[in-house]
């Protein structure tokens, strides 16, 4: 299969996706949307690793992506459990209410 794509274009796509996620984290106040944006950022970081792995023809990038996948999965399970706690205490998922959490 002959297929070639400029390395910088693939890296740019990863960067753009990462910064869209960053903007989402900063703009939203709903904690579910903040977790979604964090997923976008982690996915973009993994994408950059896979692109780098394809550039230098090594499978190490793909292995790093698998590690990031595991971190993202455990992060989102704890994060969503915390969202349920937040809703239980404050009856809202406004992240600003979490600033009054103690312990």
């Amino acid at each position: 299969m002959s297929f070639a794509v400029p390395f910088e274009h693939a890296m740019m796509l990863a960067g753009i996706l990462f910064f869209i996620g960053l903007a989402g984290v900063m703009v939203r106040r709903d904690s579910i949307f903040i977790l979604l944006s964090l997923e976008v950022m982690l996915n973009a970081a993994g994408f950059a690793l896979v692109v780098a792995g394809a550039q230098w023809r090594e499978v190490d990038g793909q292995i790093m992506f698998l590690f990031i996948l595991a971190v993202a999965a455990s992060e989102v399970s704890i994060g969503l459990a915390l969202v349920l706690w937040l809703y239980h205490w404050h009856k809202t998922i406004d992240i600003d209410k979490a600033s009054s959490m103690r312990g």
């Binding site: 693939a10 903007a23 900063m26 023809r57």
Partner: protein, 175 residues
């Protein structure tokens, strides 16, 4: 074939942008799913079918279903949408959006100025990935299992405490 990469990339950017600007959480989730699927497609183009499958199964399957469960459990619906409409005002999103746009432009400038060759795609098989994963990276696999265990214990602890509080409240109501 290279055009397919640009089309998938455009779909990824547009659907991610739509995902972070939606009012309704379920719509955002579905747009994010489209974005993840297009990234999986790009992984296939880059000759990484193993990782593409993982992207669909874990990200598009497991993590998105977890989000869907929590959204359904909270069941906020119209109340949350009205709240979001009040929060997403121009003054709120203009500052972060401008700052992020500056960062994106800087990043694009830096990446574009480097002399990089084209990626010549050599497809890799799952066998190669697994051989490397369980060879030099064995310690990493063990560490990942610890991370997953910590996630499990943390989620269980939080859910258990929540259930205990709920049971105590119900017992108080009965007496």
């Amino acid at each position: 074939m290279s055009t397919a990469f640009y089309i998938a990339g455009a779909v990824a950017i547009i659907s991610t942008l739509l995902a972070i600007t939606r009012i309704n959480a379920v719509h955002a989730l579905l747009y994010l799913l489209v974005s993840l699927l297009s990234v999986a497609l790009i992984f296939l183009f880059l000759g990484a079918p193993f990782v593409a499958a993982f992207e669909v199964i874990i990200y598009g399957g497991a993590i998105m279903v977890l989000f869907a469960f929590v959204i359904m459990m909270l069941g906020l619906g119209h109340k949350a949408m009205a709240q979001e409409r009040g929060w997403l005002t121009l003054t709120v999103w203009l500052g972060p959006a401008l700052l992020t746009a500056v960062l994106i432009i800087e990043l694009l400038y830096v990446v574009y100025s480097g002399p990089f060759p084209m990626i010549r795609v050599v497809p890799t098989t799952p066998r190669e990935v697994a051989a490397r994963l369980f060879g030099p990276y064995l310690l990493g696999v063990e560490l990942v299992s610890v991370v997953l265990l910590l996630g499990l214990v943390g989620a269980f602890h939080l859910a258990y405490q929540l259930g205990k509080k709920e049971r105590e409240r119900k017992r108080g109501l009965h007496q």
